[in-house]
C-alpha cells in the first residue's frame, strides 16, 4: 500500500491571489525515500504541510483534492492525530525547537512526555536516538546555545524519537558542513532501513542521487517531472526547471556532447568513475574514493 497518496491537490493560501499547489498527484510507497526538488517558491514546503495536515487545517485557505496517509484522509483527521503518523522536521530549527526546555535531552523527551509515554521508555528512546544521531556530546546544553548545524541535528532527533511511520523533512542540511550533511543522510538511510517512508525537500543533488528512490521536480505549484534520480537528472527539462544537476551528471552530459554515449547516465561518483573506466580503461589501478 502507498504510505502517502495525494490526488489532484490544489491549494491557495487565504490572502493569496493564485494557487500555490496545482493539481498535484503523488504516491509514495512504504519505505521509499522521495526527494522533492525545485526552485524556491515552487510549492515544496506547502506540499510538505499538506501531508501533515497543516494545509489547510492550520493555514486555512481553499483546498480541493485528497491527501491520504496510511489510508487516512488527513483533511478529516485532527492535526494531533495526524502528528502521530507524520513526523515533521522544520526547515528552520529555530522555529521547531520548543524554547521551553533547558537541555537537548529534555527537548528530545518533550514530545514523548506529551504523548504520555512511560518514563523508562522515554529514557530508552531518547538515549537510543541521541546515539544514532550523534548528539550525546551536547545532551546537557541549552538547544538555543548550539550552532546552526548542531540545532539542525537536534531538530531531526527530536522528531525521529517520536517514531512515526512517515517523515516529512524540509531541508535538513541547509546550515550543515559537508561532514554533518553526510551524517544526516546516514541517519536518513537508517530511517529508510527501518522501513520509514520519507519525503525530503533538499537542494543537495549529489546526496539525492545517492540516497533517493524517487525524485519529484516541482515548478510553479505543479509536479513536472517524476522518476528515479537517473531518469530525472537525465531529462533535459531539468534546466528549464532550474534544477542544479549533480556534478557527476554534468560531466556525463558534457561527455555525451563530445560524442561519448552511455547506456545509463551515471549519477554518483562511483558510477561515473566506473562508467568512464569502462570506456577509456583509465585509472584501473587508481585509488577510487568511496562515494
Amino acid at each position: 500500500m502507498d504510505s502517502i497518496k495525494i490526488t489532484d491537490l490544489t491549494y491557495r493560501y487565504p490572502t493569496a491571489d493564485e494557487d500555490v499547489l496545482r493539481h498535484v498527484s503523488l504516491s509514495v510507497e512504504k519505505g521509499q525515500l522521495c526527494a522533492v526538488v525545485g526552485a524556491n517558491g515552487s510549492g515544496k514546503t506547502t506540499l510538505c504541510n499538506a501531508i501533515r495536515g497543516f494545509v489547510p487545517k492550520f493555514y486555512k485557505g481553499e483546498i480541493s483534492g485528497e491527501v491520504l496517509v496510511n489510508g487516512k484522509d488527513v483533511q478529516r483527521e485532527e492535526i494531533g492525530i495526524t502528528a502521530l503518523e507524520v513526523g515533521f522536521v522544520f526547515q528552520n530549527p529555530f522555529t521547531q525547537i520548543s524554547g521551553i526546555t533547558d537541555t537537548v535531552y529534555e527537548e528530545l523527551a518533550y514530545g514523548l512526555e506529551n504523548m504520555g509515554v512511560e518514563p523508562a521508555e522515554i529514557e530508552r528512546r531518547v538515549e537510543e536516538i541521541m546515539g544514532l544521531t550523534k548528539i550525546e556530546a551536547f545532551r546537557d546544553r541549552d538547544p538555543y546555545q548550539l550552532s546552526g548545524g548542531q540545532q539542525q541535528r537536534v531538530a531531526l532527533a527530536a522528531v525521529l524519537v517520536m517514531n512515526q511511520d512517515v517523515f516529512v523533512i524540509d531541508e535538513p542540511t541547509s546550515q550543515l558542513d559537508p561532514q554533518s550533511t553526510d551524517d544526516v543522510f546516514e541517519i536518513i538511510r537508517l530511517m529508510k532501513n527501518m522501513g520509514k517512508t520519507i519525503v525530503l525537500v533538499e537542494h543537495k543533488m549529489e546526496q539525492i542521487a545517492e540516497y533517493a528512490d524517487k525524485v519529484v521536480v516541482m515548478d510553479q505549484g505543479q509536479i513536472v517531472l517524476e522518476g528515479t534520480p537517473e531518469e530525472v537528472f537525465s531529462d533535459p527539462r531539468c534546466e528549464e526547471y532550474h534544477i542544479r544537476l549533480p556534478q557527476c551528471t554534468r560531466i556525463a552530459l558534457e561527455l555525451k556532447k563530445e560524442g561519448i554515449g552511455f547506456e545509463k547516465l551515471p549519477v554518483t561518483v562511483r558510477e561515473t568513475v566506473e562508467t568512464i573506466q569502462a570506456i577509456t580503461g583509465a585509472g584501473k589501478d587508481g585509488q577510487e574514493r568511496k562515494g
Partner: protein, 269 residues
C-alpha cells in the same frame, strides 16, 4: 600594500572557549575569496574580527597598512561590511527599501546618492521588484539577499558574506555568482564563508581552509581542492569532479567540468 592584512589574530570567548588561534592572511582589492571548514572551525569569529563586531583577543587587522586597534566598530564597519549568517539577526525595517536605506542614512549619505545605491544594490541581488515588500514576507533564501543588498549599498571596500549559499536554489546561486563577479570587477574584495564546495570550485580563485581554529591551507582553489589530505583533515568533501578525476587517475587538475570532459575524450582508449 594589501588592502587588508590580518596579523596573528586570536580570540577566546569569555567562557574560556578558544575560537580562533593565530590566524594570518591578506586580502587584495578585487579578490574573491572563499573560506571553508567545519561548523565550529572558527570561520565566523575570524571574519567578525575583520569588521569589528568582535574585538580581536590578540593580533591586529591592518587596513591599507594602518592598524585598526583604535578604530571604533562604526569606523571598521565603513571599511568592511558583514552579512550575518542568519538574516533575521540583521533585518528590522518594514520594507526592503527601508532596510537597505537604513545604514546609508546612518552614514549620512545624501538623498540622490542613497537612491542610486539602493537601486544598484537591489538590481544586483534581484530585489528590485520587492523594494516595497516587508522583508518578513519573503522566504529565508530571499531575506538573505536583502541583507546582502544592505552591505552592497554601504559600498565598503571589503564585503563578507556568511553562508549566503545556504538554502539557495539554482537561481539564487546564479545571482550570488553574478554579483560576486560585478563587485570584484569594481575593485571590491569579497570574502564568502560557505559549505558548498561545488560553488567554491565554480566561483572562487582562492580558498582558505580552516580547521580547529587555524588556517591549514590558503591558495588557489584547484591546488587546495586536489589535496586530499588537507580536505580530509578539515573534514571537507572534495567536489565530485575532483573525486572522479582522482578515481580515473586524471593527470591534470581542473575544476572545470567542460575541461574534464575534454580531457577524458582525448584519453579514450
Amino acid at each position: 600594500m594589501a588592502l587588508v592584512e590580518v596579523k596573528n589574530l586570536s580570540f577566546c570567548y569569555p567562557n574560556g572557549y578558544q575560537a580562533v588561534d593565530d590566524v594570518s592572511f591578506t586580502i587584495e582589492a578585487g579578490e574573491n575569496i572563499a573560506i571553508v571548514g567545519q561548523n565550529g572551525a572558527g570561520k565566523t569569529t575570524t571574519v567578525k574580527m575583520l569588521n569589528g563586531l568582535t574585538k580581536p583577543g590578540s593580533g591586529d587587522v591592518l587596513i591599507n597598512g594602518e592598524s585598526t586597534k583604535n578604530y571604533t566598530t562604526a569606523q571598521m564597519a565603513r571599511r568592511v561590511g558583514y552579512v550575518f549568517q542568519n538574516p533575521d539577526d540583521q533585518i528590522f525595517n518594514a520594507t526592503v527599501y527601508k532596510e537597505i536605506e537604513y545604514g546609508l542614512k546612518k552614514m549620512k549619505v545624501d538623498m540622490g546618492e542613497c537612491e542610486r545605491r539602493i537601486k544598484d544594490a537591489a538590481e544586483l541581488t534581484g530585489m528590485t521588484k520587492y523594494l516595497e515588500t516587508n522583508p518578513y514576507d519573503l522566504p529565508l533564501s530571499m531575506r538573505k539577499f536583502v541583507t546582502i543588498a544592505s552591505v552592497i549599498a554601504s559600498n565598503c571596500d571589503v564585503m563578507i558574506f556568511d553562508e549566503p549559499t545556504a538554502g539557495q536554489d539554482l537561481d539564487g546561486l546564479k545571482i550570488l555568482s553574478d554579483l560576486n563577479r560585478v563587485l570584484t570587477a569594481r575593485g571590491k574584495a569579497i570574502v564568502t564563508i560557505t559549505h558548498d564546495m561545488e560553488f567554491v570550485a565554480d566561483n572562487y580563485d582562492r580558498v582558505i581552509v580552516m580547521c580547529q581554529k587555524k588556517i591549514i591551507a590558503d591558495g588557489r582553489t584547484k591546488d587546495v581542492f586536489f589535496q586530499k589530505d588537507i580536505m580530509e583533515k578539515a573534514m571537507l568533501k572534495q567536489p565530485a569532479l575532483v573525486r572522479i578525476a582522482t578515481g580515473i587517475g586524471m593527470q591534470e587538475n581542473t575544476l572545470d567540468v567542460k575541461m574534464a570532459a575534454a580531457y577524458i575524450r582525448q584519453n579514450l582508449r
